[in-house]
Amino acid sequence: MSAELAFEARTTLGALQLEVALQVAPGECVALAGPSGAGKSSILRIVAGLLHPREGRVRCAQETWLDTDGGVDLAPDRRRCGYVFQEYALFAHLTAWQNVAFSMRQVPRRARRERALELLERFGMAALCDARPQTLSGGERQRVALARALARTPRVLLLDEPLSALDARTRAAASRELQAILAEVGVPALLVTHDFVEAAALGHRVGVIDGGRVVQEGTAAELAAAPATAFVADFTGAVVLTGAAWRDDGVTRVTLDGGGELTSTDHAEGAVAASIFPWEVTIEPAGEAAHGSTRNRLAAEVVSVTEIGGRVRVGLLTPQPLAAEVTRESLAELGLVPGRRVIASFKATATRITPR
């Protein structure tokens, strides 16, 4: 745990009171998810030294980068952060390889191009090394930005909405690539997103940020199954189940990790995440025979019952955590209390499959 990132800060940003403490282990990716204006990007900026909190401490790789009590505040260029900015912030006056080579001041001039090409090659971008950023597609820019961020052998990776500038088609592939890179680089990573599904796909842990505070922290499944506040419940929206997919007669079948099987109309193979919105999930008493068009039926145990406004969120174990939203009437009718065995059912068409 020596190379971990430890962060804490208290500061005022306009009307927002930011007060956050986090720890990220080497190789771990913590996703900070929340609505825009919640202070997520400010956390990354404080880690990188681009924003100065009133009070705070940042320690990374056994170095103190910021300690307002001790009077330490390293300049951004002396902290080794691989920062991928929201719109990638590539240098328009430089080519792809020159962007990647920007930080190679210590590398002899003649070796720079070769080093940059090696990095671009990892992202399948070597062929476009002489292209200007403005001629590249969103996905290509993202890869150049990642290669550039890795060029300085960073001690921490900071990713600000790395996928949000991409279209839906490239996003799934980019997400998979990013996961592989994070695992390979092995440094602490902080990722910011407003999309819970993205946070669930990329983060080992998810911190939900609202109003400058981490309102809940845990795995995506934990948050979705047992939201601490109504805000988190609302925000998580979908529930994520992991498993392995294969194609079968025009549909996708997923063998869930820990048991159970489900069907989706989305196309996918290999390791996947299936996401379902809790309001698509119906609860029936255990032992009832299948009827109607609902293809997915999972045996489950009720673990929690939380009221959110006019509806009730029921936390289930399938054994992976799942959640359903029902009315108060149904809750009483079905006698839903923790420990009760039920069948959770939802339609194949309501089951989204994303590669992981």
């Binding site: 900026r45 990188a48 030294g49 681009l50 300049a75 951004p76 260029d77 902290r79 952060c81 691989g82 920062y83 900015f85 929201q86 719109e87 912030a89 590539l90 240098f91 328009a92 006056h93 920007f102 930080s103 001041r105 200007r132 950023p133 403005q134 550039r148 060029a151 300085r152």
Partner: protein, 249 residues
Amino acid sequence: MLFFLVLPIIAIFVGTSPRELIASLGEPVVREALWLSAKTTMMALALILAAGTPAAYFLATRRFRGRSAVITLVELPLVLPPAVAGIGLLAAIGPSGILAPIGVSFSLSTAAVVVALTYVASPFYVRQAMASFGAVDRTVVDAARTLGASEAEAFVRVVIPTAMPGLVAGTALALGRALGEFGATIMFAGSFVGVTQTVPLAIYDRFSVQFPDALALSAVLVVVSAAILLSVKFVRGAEAVGGVGGARV
């Protein structure tokens, strides 16, 4: 209308035969005026770039009280009649100006010409440079910082290249203005051959006594001005095509 705008320029070239033009350019008075104009304009331009670039960057990126008032003051020489600028310079730093008691005074010297040119031409550069610096995306500068560049290094390696088309255009505009400067120079520095008589002053000085000389000098200014205009258009065109505007990163 177009004819009206082009006619005087045509007349300058029709009025001088190429042989006459070459002969006039050989005249010592004419040669001295050309050399003096080139020298003073370059010196003024160097001063404008050296002081105007950091000033423009500061004004474009910092927010402080009275910022818009400062910007208005910087732009004032743009609309000030050149004769007024000349009188103002005399009153401020002339032989008996308000700064003369502390030793800051210029009079009837080449240095005085440079001061006058700098005064009238600098807003053309500063205005354009401010707009270009203002359009540079701040996150690009932040990106440079996280990639190990110090603040000064980020300015040199990222801000300047990104703003370059605008800086070149501003330089060309200031160059054109300095080269054609007449009113402030004649008021503040006078018109002495070889010392303060730049090309526009020489044209004025010669046109009654030696009209072909005046025409030859005018022809040179027309060519130089046209070259400046074309280079600005070329840079702007490249910017529009290449999208090196900074804001588009």
